[in-house]
């Protein structure tokens, strides 16, 4: 059941991320719903589940875009590994944690993906656009993770996931 919830959450996040438009004055930065779901599992689950979610979430993000397959998975796996490593030192369910982690993780993910895409020659962008994009990524990450965390946790509780109940 928890696997189904995970797949459902990731699919819904992927669809929402694709359908909701981005703003030109925010350097076309998207709301990081997929990363939000991945971070939820990184903060609340064991390592195996977390890596599985990061891998699948990354594949979804790559498949629905034009990033090389595996790039987002690699990025998400590394980030979730770091987050998971330090989660015992933070208040996992506190909204301030979500805001800070959301901003930091999305910023790092954006920079990481930019480096991969730029190195492989996929992008034609300037530094000013990149700076704007990094700033907006931080902001949207900070706004998105608290909401996604709360929604995913509520969904799991309503569907009777025992792991969510034990949090």
């Amino acid at each position: 059941m928890s696997h189904l919830i995970m797949l459902f959450s990731l699919t819904l996040a992927a669809v929402a991320q694709a359908v909701i438009p981005s703003l030109p004055w925010m350097a076309m930065t998207k709301f990081p719903f997929i990363l939000g779901v991945v971070m939820y599992y990184a903060l609340t689950r064991d390592r195996h589940t977390m890596l599985r979610v990061a891998f699948i979430g990354g594949l979804f993000q790559d498949a629905l875009g034009h990033t090389p397959l595996g790039a987002s998975s690699l990025c998400f796996c590394v980030l979730t590994g770091v987050v998971n490593h330090y989660r015992d030192l933070i208040y996992v369910r506190h909204v301030i944690t979500h805001i800070l982690y959301g901003g930091l993780v999305n910023l790092t993910s954006t920079l990481f993906l930019y480096l991969i895409l730029e190195t492989d020659g996929y992008l034609l962008t300037g530094y000013r656009w990149l700076m704007l994009r990094l700033g907006c990524s931080t902001l949207l990450g900070a706004l998105t993770l608290p909401v996604v965390f709360h929604l995913t946790e509520s969904l799991e509780r309503r569907l009777g996931s025992t792991q969510a109940r034990s949090l």
């Binding site: 359908v19 390592r47 594949l59 629905l64």
Partner: protein
């Protein structure tokens, strides 16, 4: 241990050949795109429902039907105008060549690029409908991009506003050639393109129409791209450059047409010659039959 396994899997995935990687992506897209289409359609329906609730009655539905009909008619008119121009040019040169026919596949908008790194949109038709990679995508307002990825039921379109999209173009009035590339979207959501390599001695004015030149093999000739908004000398001083503005915002289209196939004009000509030869043979047989008939007796 789990990290090693994961690392190995990621290394394999990152180094997959393009064809395999595309197939994997296409299969994931095929699963998710119906959901995206459903949500987009729901959004559109809700918008219409809202208009109805505000007291506009059936106007919203009628508006949509008329919009669809208008798009079809305007696209036909655009195509016929291009045909007429070409017909006049051919008559003047006293040469006749079979016009290549274009199959246009109507598509609906499904979703945008999920990452925001590229200016792309996803449309609701794919290889099952005759859509292929590197095909022009047009609306009655002109070119909006080209297909870059095609799965069975969807295709991704790289918009003209993306810096990676380059179109061989010419200024309609003076027949001056150049290359149009996207420059992104401004803060007030205005799409800007840039036309480079314009000959310094050529005549370029503000407001000139820019159309596709037909060179490059992707975009058919004569499709509208935009208007000249600004003219300046290139950085190296060797050419002129111009800012081009399209007629409508390419990122907010609801419908578009993919140029699915162009019949090869040479093959079409050969097929026509074969038909004519067969017709001549039939006529020869009819004449032979006439000769074999008994002569008619003429009364004195």
């Amino acid at each position: 241990m789990v990290w090693l396994v994961l690392g190995a899997v990621l290394v394999v995935i990152l180094n997959l050949p393009n064809s395999v990687s595309r197939r994997v992506k296409a299969s994931i897209r095929e699963v998710i795109s119906p959901l995206q289409e459903g949500i987009t359609d729901t959004g559109r329906t809700l918008k219409e429902a809202w208009m109805i609730a505000r007291g506009l009655g059936g106007l919203a539905i009628k508006n949509r039907e008329m919009e669809e009909e208008l798009i079809q008619l305007r696209n036909e008119a655009l195509y016929l105008r291009a045909l007429e121009r070409e017909n006049v040019a051919l008559r003047e040169q006293l040469r006749f060549m079979q016009k290549s026919s274009q199959t246009l596949v109507p598509c609906e908008f499904v979703a945008r690029d999920i990452s925001g790194w590229w200016q792309t949109v996803r449309l609701s038709r794919g290889s099952a409908d005759g859509v292929a990679v590197n095909r022009a995508v047009v609306t009655p307002e002109g070119v909006i991009g080209k297909t870059i990825d095609v799965s069975r039921n969807t295709c991704d379109v790289l918009l003209v506003s993306d810096p990676g999209c380059k179109i061989s173009a010419k200024i309609s009035r003076s027949e001056t050639f150049g290359v149009v590339s996207g420059q992104g979207v401004t803060v007030n959501e205005q799409v800007v393109m840039k036309m480079d390599f314009i000959n310094k001695k050529s005549s370029v004015n503000l407001g000139d129409e820019v159309v596709t030149s037909g060179l490059g093999g992707v975009f058919p000739k004569g499709l509208f791209i935009g208007y000249v908004d600004k003219i300046y000398t290139s950085k190296n001083g060797l050419y002129l450059s111009a800012d081009i503005v399209p007629r409508e915002d390419v990122g907010t289209v609801n419908y578009a047409f993919v140029v699915a196939e162009d019949d090869d004009p040479i093959e079409e000509l050969l097929r026509r010659k074969e038909r004519e030869a067969e017709q001549l043979k039939v006529e020869e047989v009819e004449v032979e039959v006439d000769v074999d008939e008994e002569p008619v007796e003429v009364e004195e």
